[in-house]
């Protein structure tokens, strides 16, 4: 009896595998199909970052649709890879490596959009670089990936074993954003004493570190600098600590997933009404929804969010067009991340076009690197020598009536933010 069930189970598993194998088979064997190029994205699709990555993927798909799914004679195929595992509910180094290797081996693949997490980029970058496959990230903000001297001494050289730069990103880096946030606290909020929190992750701690470094120069005293436990149920004891220091602003380097809303709620219910400033990891509706009406109400104290670009409703030109189309298709205003995905894919498609539409990774790579004065949804920008966007425009936002409201632009279009 038991044997029977076991073998039945095994049969089920095998047939599931076969079914799973089926749909991709024709693409590999069919010779009559039109020539195609593949763009893949590798983002954490399982678990807590799912809503952001969904909007990125929506953006990518829109960019491809705009081109009619074709460039020249080539059909553009898109594969949405997941670099998260269900057990972790977050990106997994093994899966990211597997994704990168799979893309590197696929002869039709000419572009890799990803990753979302900078840590994952560190794994994928050398693999893709060796394969000469261009990588455009819609989400990595760790400066060391591209900027010499910003991270470890051997960064970013180690991510470029082949010697050429094959990694580009359409988002401004943490060092710019952290400084902008600090400047805003000092100049606009008139803060004198800041309590800095971070989630101990690459992104959150990176920004908090920059904030801390910039603070003395802006006349802000650092009342405290603490890494929190992003899985804690509440932060009331920390709030008590913050209250006892008399800080007049709280900066949290973290994301919605690492409990930014919970900190805000505990601050407010603990009677602490100082402004609460967070980076773009919280620039999504989920943050407002997670925090709830009371914590976001103006009488509880103000809330600010920095963002590496302009919010959707402030976009003009192509950006505004994108927002319109997105609204029409999905029935909602796109989240901030959608634009990044859209822009990353658009720049890639543009490069494929300029590379005379060939299945040639080197040509595509060269074309991406040569991107100059690109008229995208995020404005007009170029890739600099490191592979970073020259777009340094930041915005400061707040929350008003349950919606993000633009406060001011900061950072400047081309100037150095520091």
């Amino acid at each position: 009896m038991l044997r029977k069930t076991a073998s039945a189970l095994a049969a089920c598993a095998i047939s599931a595998l076969l079914i799973a194998a089926a749909p991709s088979a024709p693409a590999a064997t069919g010779s009559a199909a039109p020539p195609s190029l593949t763009i893949v994205s590798s983002l954490p699709r399982t678990g807590s970052a799912n809503s952001q990555t969904t909007s990125i993927v929506n953006g990518i798909k829109m960019a491809i649709e705009e081109r009619g799914g074709k460039i020249g004679e080539f059909e553009i195929r898109y594969e949405d890879m997941d670099d998260a595992s269900p057990q972790k509910g977050n990106w997994d180094q093994n899966i990211e490596a597997a994704n990168a290797n799979k893309a590197a081996k696929d002869p039709t693949c000419v572009g890799y959009i990803g990753t979302y997490n900078s840590g994952a980029a560190k794994i994928a970058m050398p693999i893709l670089n060796k394969a000469g496959l261009v990588m455009v990230s819609p989400g990595n903000t760790y400066p060391g990936l591209t900027k010499p001297g910003a991270g470890e001494a051997n960064e970013p050289k180690i991510y470029r074993p082949s010697g050429t730069i094959s990694y580009f990103r359409v988002v401004p880096t943490d060092d710019i954003q952290g400084a902008v946030a600090c400047e805003f606290c000092a100049k606009d909020l008139g803060s004198k004493k800041a309590f800095i929190l971070h989630d101990r992750e690459l992104y959150g701690k990176g920004i908090a570190d920059v904030f801390k470094k910039s603070a003395p120069g802006m006349g802000i005293e650092v009342a405290g600098f603490e890494g929190i436990d992003p899985k804690a149920s509440n932060y009331r004891s920390l709030v008590t600590k913050i209250r006892s220091t008399g800080a007049d602003v709280v900066f949290y380097g973290g994301t919605t997933q690492t409990n930014a809303a919970q900190i805000l709620k505990d601050l407010r219910s603990g009677g602490c009404k100082v402004p609460f400033v967070t980076p773009d990891g919280t620039f999504e509706n989920a943050y407002i929804e997670a925090a709830g009406k009371d914590a976001m109400a103006p009488e509880s104290g103000s809330v600010y969010i920095t963002f590496g670009g302009l919010p959707s409703e402030q976009l003009t030109g192509r950006g505004a067009e994108f927002v319109e189309r997105y609204k029409k298709k999905h029935g909602e205003v796109p989240e901030a991340y959608a634009v990044y995905g859209y822009e990353a894919c658009k720049v890639l498609l543009d490069a494929i076009d300029r590379a005379a539409t060939k299945n040639d990774r080197a040509a595509v790579l060269a074309a991406v690197a040569a991107t100059k004065d690109f008229q995208g949804a995020l404005g007009t920008w170029s890739f600099d020598a490191n592979g970073d966007t020259t777009n340094r425009l930041m915005s400061i936002n707040t929350v008003k009536d349950g919606k993000f409201a633009f406060v001011k632009a900061a950072g400047g279009g081309t100037g150095q933010a520091k």
Partner: protein, 348 residues
């Protein structure tokens, strides 16, 4: 790039920011050191009491089937989603006064029933077929059940309801309305004892008393203790062991249901991944007190709550987890069966 039209509006926002950045706190005081200590103690005890409430349900099930029930925290998580759905469906938010209190009591009872029934069903489907198998197989089954529950929580968060913000970002944490407003119930100096703190106490203590009564004096309680000691002997004495186990799962789950409502009101957040920490804290509390020991679980919960608060307040938040676990290991080195656990004597 800027739209000039919005500029005035923005300046107004900034002016508002400057204005309210000054009065940092209602009574405008920077806490004195003794007040900080008292405030941390209040926080620690409240959090500890919630942990204790989850831990008793956990330790009850452990006592009877010796299962490290990994799904317990995730069960509580689903309970929180159930409660949030109920809050949305019956518009419990903002119903003040007697109606609000009645609503709250109804919510507590309904969630308890839901969690109890769910726990009973999980036992039926995932644990009962494994009664004669090794404990480790049971453990893996519990791990599997916990994954399933987490996924159900994710689905639940995607329901297109207003309380779930339309469900568009299912994975994001959801705000749980402050059914008991986080206003001070009373203050001592600058130390706040908030209304949710009082709620925690008001739910936890009666439940613990009721549970003690149940285990000590009712027929079911006696049967539960008999099954915990020796299932074979209990069944020879005419006790329907499976029914008793099922009842224990129901009661353990129901306690989790009460706990999760209190937890949600206290923290005002629910999310599909919150079960991990809830279950983990309950597990630590139960072990610290001596697994299967009800007063032990309460003591363990309180200890953990207070240690967490003190560590956050006086050491550094980033070391809190390590300190809690380090303390646990240290206690177990000296007292291998927990604080109140009986010394195991093997029958030879």
């Amino acid at each position: 790039m800027l739209r000039a039209a919005a500029a005035a509006d923005q300046l107004a926002i900034l002016a508002l920011a400057r204005a309210d950045s000054l009065p940092a706190f209602a009574s405008d005081g920077v806490l004195s050191s003794s007040e900080v200590f008292s405030q941390q103690l209040v926080t620690g005890l409240s959090n500890g009491m919630i942990i204790a409430l989850i831990a008793i349900g956990y330790t009850m099930v452990y006592g009877i089937v010796e299962l490290i029930n990994f799904a317990h925290g995730d069960l509580c998580m689903l309970g929180a989603f159930f409660a949030l759905t109920a809050v949305g469906a019956f518009a419990l938010e903002g119903a003040g006064g007697a109606g609000g209190t009645a609503g709250l009591v109804a919510l507590l009872l309904a969630t308890a029933a839901f969690c109890g029934a769910l726990n009973w069903s999980i036992n039926r489907l995932a644990y009962r077929p494994l009664r004669s198998a090794s404990k480790l197989s049971l453990l893996v089954s519990a791990i599997g059940a916990s994954f399933v529950l987490v996924n159900l929580g994710l689905f639940w968060g995607g329901l297109p309801m207003e309380v779930f913000a339309g469900g568009t970002s299912a994975a994001a944490p959801k705000a749980f309305p402050a059914l008991v407003e986080p206003k001070p119930a009373f203050t001592v100096g600058d130390v706040i004892v908030s209304r949710p703190d009082v709620l925690v106490l008001a739910v936890t203590v009666p439940l613990m008393l009721a549970l003690t009564w149940l285990v000590r004096f009712t027929k079911l309680g006696k049967a539960m203790r008999a099954v915990a000691q020796n299932p074979t002997a209990a069944s020879l004495m005419g006790i329907d062991v499976e029914r008793v186990i099922g009842a224990t799962f129901f009661i353990g789950g129901a306690l989790g249901g009460f706990a999760t409502v209190v937890y949600s009101i206290y923290n005002q957040t629910v999310g599909f991944q919150m079960g991990y920490r809830m279950g983990m804290d309950a597990f630590i509390a139960a072990v610290l007190g001596g697994i299967g020991n009800l007063p032990g679980a309460v003591l363990g919960g309180l200890v953990i709550g207070v240690v967490r608060a003190m560590s956050d307040g006086y050491v550094e938040a980033r070391w809190t987890n390590a300190i809690v676990f380090g303390l646990l290991i240290l206690i177990l080195v000296f007292r291998p069966s927990g604080l109140l656990g009986a010394k195991l004597r093997e029958k030879v």
